[in-house]
Symmetry: C2
Subunit: 271 residues, 2 copies
């Protein structure tokens, strides 16, 4: 079974995609072909989208699905001419939300993923810059950090820091534990002084081995023995310091970031 | 006016947050205090969440809002005991979606932002690594790039590349045009040979000036004259080469990424 799915929006279509994608992940037996139609912000563009959807509808067996988050009523109305099953998040929830809040909405496009609140946007860009300049132990001056991820090389620290920064404007640094660090009974002082911000990131030794092998095939660095030693030593060092350990083996960067935010009670300035 | 809003989910709560946040951006007059409650995946945790929500409800004037994307029915049902207005994305759309698809959903938590399809997740992590190793002109070997962003220093190339990589698994490189490049009549050959993947990123000279000023205060690099010269020269060089120009002045990284994907017709392996 295969269905074509459109994510249509007058903005980036990120909300439409997130909304539709989340629902579709609950249907494992069906293959979905996903097509994004962002920036559909005029009736003319909506008309073009309808033509595209109808072409797919005419060619295929089953009616396409459309997940829509169009803000503008006129543009949204145009879309109802599509030969498709339409799931419209805004149309569905806006009216009850207006009732609950006791005010009418003031429709404006592109608020959810535009620059919106420009302070919070700047904050995210600054945090991203911070993550890059405090990646991989580049800087040991960590007083500005809100989060410091510590773990062996290739345990997944960098993407997690970037995600925290880009999405939530959280200044996240990371430090890779070296063999020298692992031989010490304690973490280095420049980390110990920020214990409240430390998170240990660990990983299955076998998986680490595979990841390192693609980087430096056949090296001691990528050997099963070395990976096992580093993971064990890092876990025991971090545990002895009372640092919260998270694993990147079964968790995505999104899940790790959510756990970290929850743990620290950080507020997220998500745009 | 101020309302407390909860984003509740048995997963990361990213979908709940995106869903609720998009709707709330349409109400500009109201201040919302946003609280994320991720990983509410047992009835006991749902019960704790209800207690927290009810505490807020008891203390405040207006009933809190709850945006929920809980997959598990039993856990979701627990949440209905909260003294709150509940907007439940899954409960609202799952039943009509099952009808349309003619199959029942197979509820499983954490699919939307977990590792889900591990190939696509690996792909995103690889692309992130690629973006980092092909950032800021570090590498001129760009044959593997799917997107190459070109623009003057601090025009917003790096965060846009990271966003494309982290979210969509797109290998995005970037190259900062130097003064030497700007004096040439053509782009450097290692860029020209990949013209189909090139995007120019431009920015208002005044804004660039402000951004550079925070990096190197009082420098020639940050001067109004220098910023104006570089922006003009870069725009005219890129235009003469027929490269699509995007501006980071009024557009967020999310908007830039969406435009680039739309332009290239790249399919997005969003997790």
């Amino acid at each position: 079974m295969r269905r074509t799915v459109f994510f249509v929006s007058d903005g980036t279509a990120i909300t439409a995609e997130t909304f539709g994608h989340s629902l579709l992940t609950q249907f494992q037996g069906i293959k979905f072909r996903e097509i994004r139609l962002p920036f559909v912000d005029t009736e003319a563009k909506a008309h073009d989208s309808v033509e595209l959807i109808n072409k797919v509808a005419a060619a295929g067996e089953d009616k396409p699905l459309v997940f829509s988050t169009i803000v503008n009523h006129k543009v949204g109305r145009e879309l109802t001419h599509a030969h498709a099953h339409i799931f419209d998040m805004f149309a569905t929830f806006m009216e009850p939300l207006e009732r609950v809040l006791g005010v009418e909405s003031s429709p404006r496009i592109g608020r959810a993923h535009g620059m919106g609140d420009s302070d919070s946007y700047e904050h995210r860009m600054e945090a991203t810059n911070y993550a890059l300049t405090h990646d991989d132990g580049i800087s040991k001056h960590l007083s500005q950090a809100e989060v410091i991820l510590v773990g062996v090389s290739r345990s997944g620290k960098t993407p997690t820091c970037l995600y925290l920064a880009l999405h939530y404007g959280i200044k996240a640094a990371n430090y890779p534990l070296t063999e020298e660090d692992l031989e010490q009974p304690r973490l280095p002082p420049f980390l110990r002084e920020h214990k409240g911000k430390l998170f240990g990131l660990t990983i299955d030794a076998e998986r680490l081995c595979r990841i390192r092998e693609t980087r430096r095939p056949g090296s001691r660095y990528a050997s099963a023995r070395q990976c096992r030693y580093e993971v064990d030593a890092a876990e025991s060092l971090l545990r002895s310091e009372g640092v919260t350990l998270l694993s990147s083996t079964g968790s995505s960067v999104e899940e790790l970031a959510s756990r970290i935010i929850l743990n620290l009670g950080l507020s997220a300035s998500h745009s």
